[in-house]
Symmetry: C2
Subunit: 326 residues, 2 copies
């Protein structure tokens, strides 16, 4: 069997995760990693060639799908349409407000070049988006809810680190159990931001810092914390490393609704993830398989998880899928 | 907007459910019901024309998708390939062992006629199949588990009714909570039939019947009960009607697995349904929308939920889907 030849663009947690995921998926192989750092400074978790970002053009015809593993703030908007001129791509773009413009630029670039680019792949956006569309389509009269956590929010952890006197920090987003129970009861509640999630912060302060001021500044921070019930725990650096060193995450999508006769229905999808980036990477790889197959069928342009029939994700043949999974 | 014109073939619980679901989906309308009974004896829950099964040929060009609402044992194998000669179809065929041959016959008939036929649609097969394929594709190294219930099994209730001295009965399939917890713990257990589900039977006996014999015959019944821990409760006819009159069901699909570095992941999808047939009908209608759209794009033959990109199920435009659901 010809393996699907994967390239990795950007080598942080996601890039490492794609390498690990490929090791679990024998129909794929990682051909090369592309980086804007000096290639010789990049230590990969499994043996693979590391190349300069600019040199990816030399891999045209040698790589089937590029998985873009950069961040949504600056990397992906700068790279995706550019890489799509040379290769099929998969990315995890998750800046929700900018999805329409990102889609338009990527779609044009990929279509013009005859490539296929899957965007906003992962678990949210991604699997959670799928739950929202399948649930909503299956049950017209109802309400859909998304909860995140318990898990580490990188953005909120970074925001705490920017507070004066903070040496390090880890922020957990936690769904409010009583809100979940209200949804599960079929009440179809209107939930405020504060009612859905709490924020739990573990903070290492610099020696002699004013803890009361740090706590106040965190709790009053607009957008990040002001609209939430926030708890701040000051802990030692050792404790942070020991108990909060991982990047767990997860969450739930629920839809509660009813039929025309008043019968009630509850649909629930949940994830519990020891490692947020490793799980995201594993999904990126599955969509690389789909992109490879759909491109061979002639599909080009930008797509999201909504455009991908599930059969394309699965390594089994279609007959095997019907026999074993249907 | 042109509505999607639906026909209903067979008018039992599922057929009624499709009518109710269409009332909740304004982009669809039910044009006619087709029955093998005398049409004038069929009372519909909402006003609609009722026609003889043989007369559906007069509706060619007037109906976009026929939803086949008969049973999997005899109705669907006899009807689906026949109806697919005249119309696009959707059905809920669920005899698992016969899926390959059913698919082959339907595929040939639909392809020859230039129609599109979605088979095995509902929640299992259907949404649960989707969970199995998405979960498995997202996480290569893991185990997938399906649990059913708590819910009424029509087949097992019928089996009890065939025991001598039984007037009426209702059988609930119940997932074993401790087995669920073992799966959720990440243990990846090998579970026997007996360990996964129990069977709870509510039986109305005829006056003077030998209750001990009835209970023994139920518990020892091969295939249906012998491999399970089964409980039998004898109750009055009034209690059966009052407390066991509904057709609730539900269940769970779980996948537990790990990354190459040993990080653990748990994916879980669950349904709690007050009415099994009404929920199934609602999904059949969503797939009728998908069949209508995919057929307009030129797709023909037999398909399952695995072949349908989620965008086709949702009444929103693709741009709206990306904006609101992604």
């Amino acid at each position: 069997m010809d393996k699907i030849r994967i390239g990795i663009v950007g080598y942080g947690n996601l890039g490492r995760g794609v390498q690990y995921a490929s090791a679990q998926n024998p129909d794929t192989e990682v051909v090369a990693v592309f980086t804007r750092r000096a290639p010789e400074t990049v230590k990969t978790v499994l043996p693979v060639k590391v190349e300069k970002y600019e040199d990816m053009k030399n891999y045209v015809g040698k790589i089937d799908v590029m998985i873009l593993c950069g961040g949504s703030a600056t990397d992906l908007p700068a790279q995706s349409a550019e890489v799509a001129k040379l290769f099929n791509t998969v990315d995890s773009f998750d800046t929700h407000a900018k999805i329409p413009e990102y889609f338009a630029a990527l779609d044009k670039s990929a279509k013009d070049a005859g490539h296929l680019s899957a965007m906003s792949i992962g678990w949210d956006p991604g699997l959670f988006s799928l739950a929202r569309i399948y649930f909503g389509s299956s049950l017209a009269d109802g309400s859909t809810y998304t909860f995140w956590g318990k898990g580490v929010s990188q953005g909120h952890s970074d925001a705490i680190r920017r507070v004066k006197g903070v040496k390090d920090a880890r922020q957990y987003t936690v769904p409010v159990e009583s809100a979940l129970e209200r949804v599960r009861s079929g009440e179809n509640p209107q939930l405020t931001t504060r009612e859905k999630h709490t924020r739990e912060c573990f903070v290492v302060a610099e020696e002699g810092a004013d803890l009361a001021r740090i706590e106040r500044e965190i709790k009053e921070m607009p957008n990040y914390f002001a609209d939430y019930d926030t708890t701040v725990h000051f802990i030692s650096e050792e404790e942070l490393q020991k108990n909060h060193g991982g990047i767990p995450h997860g969450g739930l999508v629920l839809r509660s609704g009813k039929s025309a006769t008043g019968n009630k229905f509850l649909m629930e999808f949940s994830l519990k993830l020891d490692s947020n980036p490793e799980f995201t990477s594993s999904i990126l790889l599955a969509y690389a398989r789909a992109v490879y197959r759909m491109h061979r069928e002639g599909k080009t342009g930008a797509i999201t998880a909504f455009d991908v029939a599930p059969k394309y994700l699965c390594p089994l043949s279609e007959a095997e899928q019907r026999k074993e999974l249907l």
